[in-house]
C-alpha cells in the first residue's frame, strides 16, 4: 500500500535520525522561511520585469526564470526527489499567511482552557485573524484545481510567451491566495485552489521523500496532538491534515510546522523508493491524472511538434484569430475531458467485463486503472520539459544578468547568445524517461489491480486492456518524440 506507515518500514531511511543537524534546521521557526522570503523578493522583481521590462519574451526575466528554470526544476528535480517541497517555500501564499497569523516568524499560542476571548478565530491552540471559514465539503477535492489548470492550459501559449500575461498570472495568484487566506482558514488556497498544487498533489505520490510520523504508538499515547492543534512551538497543520495519521504525500506541503510542534519529535522525513504510493482515492484524482496526460500529449504536439498551424491557432494574443483558437481550445478540451478519460475508463470497464467480476465496483476499477498514469504522467512531463531546458536554457544565463532587458550585465552573462546544449540527445533522454514511466505505470497498475481483483488470473484480465492502452500511449509519445 502506501509507504511508510506510521511505523517505519524496512525500505525507508529516516533522514532526521540520520542527520541530527538537518533535524535541528527543520525545527527552526525561520526555516523554510529563510528560503521562501528571498523567493518572494525575487518574485516581486520578476513581476515588475513582466510589467515594465522588455516585451521580448525570451529576454524577459519573468518568462525565462518561471517557464524554463522554475518549471524544469519543479517537475524534474523537486517533485521526484522532494515531493511538495516547492509548496514549503512558495512565495505566493506568504502574504496571506502573515495576514492570517498576524505573525511573520512566531506563533500565536492561545490556550483554549483560558477562555476564548481575543480577536480572531481559535483553531486548536492557535489564533487566526480573518474569517477562517471552512471550505465547503463538496469543493474539498481536486475538481476546482482540475478546472483551473485546464483553463490556464488553454491559454498556455499566451502565458508562456507574454511577459505581461505571466506577470498578471503570478500577481493574480498572489492576490487570490491572499484574498482566500483572509476569508478561509489556513492554506485553503494551496490545498483546494492552486492550479500548480493540483498536479503537485498527484505526482508527489511518486516522490522518494515523505513526511510521516515515526511511531504510531507514540502518537497514540500523545495527549497534546500538537501536530493538529498547534502549540507554542508551531501552528497546527496549515494544510488541514492530521500529520500523525498522514499516510499519503498528496496534501502535505512540507511546511514543517508539525516537525516543529511535535512534543515527542515523532515527525520525520523519510526517503523511500520512487513510485511508492499508488492508491487513488477519488475520481477527482483520476481526472487529474487523465488531464495531466492529455495536456502532456497536447503540449508535446503543439510546442515540440513541427505543426505550425496548431501553434498559430493557439497563439491567440498575437494572431487574434478567434475562430482558429476556438477550434484549438475545443480540441484541447475534447482531448482532456473526453478522449483520454474516455479511453482509460473504457479500458478499466472492459477489464472488469473480461474478468467477469461484477462484484468489483466500477469506480474502484477505474481508480485502479488510472493509477498507471501517476508515474507515467510524471515521467512524460519530465520528458516534455527536457528539450525546453536543453534548447533554451541559455536564455536563463542571459536573462539572469539582464532581467528587465534594459541592457544590464549584472553577472557578465548578458551577451551569451542562444546556445542549445546537446539538443540532439533530447530524443534519447525522452525515450529513456518514457520507458521508465511505462514500466513504473505498469507496475503500479498491476499491483493496484492485483489487490482489487484478488486472484491473479482475474487481475490479469482486469488490467490487460489498461496495460495495452498504456503501451499504445507510450508508442504514440515515442513516435512524437523520436519517430
Amino acid at each position: 500500500m502506501n509507504a511508510p506507515a506510521p511505523c517505519a518500514t524496512t525500505r525507508t531511511v529516516d533522514l532526521l535520525a540520520r542527520w541530527p543537524r538537518f533535524a535541528w534546521l527543520l525545527r527552526r521557526r525561520w526555516f523554510p522561511l529563510v528560503v521562501a522570503v528571498p523567493l518572494l523578493v525575487l518574485t516581486a522583481t520578476f513581476v515588475s520585469a513582466g510589467l515594465v521590462g522588455t516585451p521580448v519574451g525570451n529576454r524577459n526575466g519573468l518568462v525565462v526564470f518561471v517557464w524554463i528554470l522554475w518549471w524544469f526544476l519543479l517537475i524534474a528535480v523537486l517533485v521526484p526527489f522532494a515531493a511538495r517541497s516547492w509548496c514549503g517555500v512558495c512565495p505566493v501564499p506568504l502574504l496571506g499567511d502573515w495576514l492570517q497569523r498576524r505573525r511573520v516568524l512566531g506563533v500565536t499560542f492561545a490556550d483554549p482552557r483560558q477562555g476564548k476571548e481575543g480577536p480572531g478565530t481559535q483553531i486548536g491552540r492557535n489564533r487566526y485573524r480573518g474569517a477562517s471559514r471552512r471550505w465547503p465539503r463538496r469543493l474539498s477535492n481536486l475538481w476546482l484545481q482540475n478546472l483551473g489548470f485546464l483553463l490556464l492550459a488553454t491559454f498556455s501559449v499566451v502565458l508562456l510567451t507574454s511577459p505581461l500575461a505571466s506577470a498578471l498570472a503570478v500577481g493574480g495568484m498572489v492576490a487570490a491566495a491572499t484574498g482566500v487566506a483572509l476569508l478561509y482558514r489556513q492554506r485553503t488556497f494551496c490545498r483546494f485552489l492552486c492550479p500548480v498544487g493540483g498536479f503537485l498533489s498527484l505526482y508527489s505520490m511518486s516522490s522518494t521523500l515523505a513526511l510521516r510520523a515515526r511511531s504510531s504508538s507514540v502518537c497514540g499515547d500523545c495527549k497534546e496532538k500538537s501536530c493538529l492543534a498547534g502549540s507554542e512551538q508551531g501552528w497546527g497543520c496549515p494544510w488541514l491534515e492530521y500529520p500523525s495519521r498522514m499516510a499519503r504525500n498528496n496534501a502535505c506541503g512540507l511546511c514543517l510546522e508539525c516537525v516543529k510542534t511535535c512534543p515527542h519529535g515523532n515527525m520525520s522525513l523519510f526517503v523511500r523508493p520512487p513510485f511508492a504510493e499508488r492508491r487513488l482515492e477519488g475520481l477527482d484524482e483520476a481526472f487529474k491524472a487523465f488531464l495531466m496526460l492529455a495536456l502532456a500529449i497536447a503540449y508535446s504536439v503543439v510546442y515540440l511538434g513541427p505543426w505550425g498551424g496548431l501553434k498559430a491557432a493557439a497563439n491567440v494574443a498575437e494572431a487574434v484569430d478567434w475562430r482558429a483558437f476556438g477550434l484549438y481550445a475545443g480540441g484541447l478540451w475534447a482531448l482532456a475531458l473526453g478522449v483520454v478519460p474516455g479511453l482509460y475508463l473504457a479500458a478499466a470497464w472492459l477489464g472488469r467485463r473480461l474478468a467477469r467480476t461484477p462484484q468489483v465496483p466500477a469506480r474502484a476499477a477505474a481508480l485502479a486503472g488510472a493509477s498507471t498514469l501517476v508515474p507515467f504522467g510524471l515521467l512524460v512531463w519530465i520528458a516534455f520539459s527536457v528539450p525546453l531546458v536543453l534548447a533554451n536554457g541559455s536564455y536563463v544565463l542571459a536573462a539572469g544578468s539582464d532581467p528587465f532587458g534594459w541592457g544590464w550585465n549584472l553577472f557578465g552573462t548578458a551577451a551569451i547568445p542562444w546556445t542549445p546544449v546537446v539538443p540532439h540527445w533530447t530524443p534519447w533522454f525522452q525515450a529513456g524517461l518514457l520507458l521508465v514511466g511505462q514500466g513504473a505505470g505498469l507496475r503500479a497498475g498491476w499491483l493496484e489491480n492485483r489487490e482489487l481483483y484478488g486472484g491473479r488470473r482475474r487481475a490479469l484480465l482486469g488490467f490487460a486492456p489498461t496495460a495495452v492502452l498504456l503501451a499504445a500511449t507510450a508508442l504514440l509519445l515515442l513516435a512524437l518524440y523520436t519517430g
Binding site: 510567451t161 513541427p306 505543426w307 505550425g308 498575437e318 533530447t426 498491476w446 484478488g454 488470473r457
Partner: protein, 175 residues
C-alpha cells in the same frame, strides 16, 4: 522437488523471454541497415511565423540534401541540431547567411550530407515573435534505430510484464 523443478522452469522461461526480447530489439533495429544507393534531395525550406515548410524531412543515411531557403515575413533562422549549421534567412531574398565551421558566408544553397541517423530538429535561431522558441521542424534520417528500439522496448515491456506476472506472481493474493 516439484517446487524446485517449477522454480527452474519459471526461471528458464524468464531468461528465454529476455533473450527473445533482446533479439527482437536487435533484429528490428538491424532491419533496414542494408546498403541502399544514396539519393540527392533538393529541398526548398520556407520559414514563416511560426512554421517551417516542409515540417518534416525524411531521408536515409548517406543522402545529400541541397537546401534553399525562403522566409515569408520576417528574418528567421535555421539551426540544425547535431549538425554544424546555422542559417540566417532574410525575407524576400535569394541569398542566406550560412554559418558553418565557424565561418559565415552568403550563399544561395546549402549542401549537407546526412551522415548520422536519428531525429534532428531544426529550430529558428533568430527571434521572430512570441512563439519563436517553439518554431521547429524535424529532419528524420533513417533507419531510425532509436525509434525502433524504443518502440520495441515499449511492446516488450508490456508483453514481458504480463509474462513476468503470469510466471512469477502466485495465484492468490498474498496473505
Amino acid at each position: 522437488m516439484q517446487a524446485q523443478a517449477g522454480e527452474s522452469r519459471r526461471r528458464g522461461a524468464i531468461w528465454g523471454m529476455g533473450a527473445l526480447g533482446i533479439l527482437a530489439i536487435i533484429g528490428i533495429g538491424a532491419a533496414g541497415a542494408g546498403t541502399h544507393a544514396p539519393r540527392e534531395h533538393e529541398i526548398r525550406v520556407t520559414a514563416g511565423r511560426y512554421f517551417f515548410e516542409p515540417a518534416v524531412i525524411r531521408v536515409q543515411r548517406g543522402d545529400t540534401l541541397m537546401l534553399r531557403f525562403a522566409a515569408t515575413d520576417v528574418v528567421h533562422g535555421f539551426y540544425l541540431e547535431g549538425h554544424d549549421l546555422d542559417v540566417t534567412i532574410p525575407p524576400l531574398s535569394r541569398q542566406v547567411e550560412a554559418k558553418r565551421a565557424g565561418a559565415t558566408e552568403l550563399v544561395e544553397e546549402v549542401v549537407l550530407v546526412a551522415e548520422r541517423s536519428g531525429k534532428f530538429r531544426y529550430r529558428c535561431s533568430k527571434p521572430c515573435g512570441a512563439m519563436h522558441p517553439f518554431m521547429v521542424g524535424e529532419l528524420v534520417v533513417g533507419p531510425n534505430h532509436l525509434f525502433r528500439a524504443s518502440a520495441a522496448s515499449a511492446i516488450g515491456l508490456l508483453l514481458g510484464g504480463l509474462a513476468w506476472v503470469r510466471l512469477r506472481s502466485p495465484e492468490e493474493r498474498p496473505g
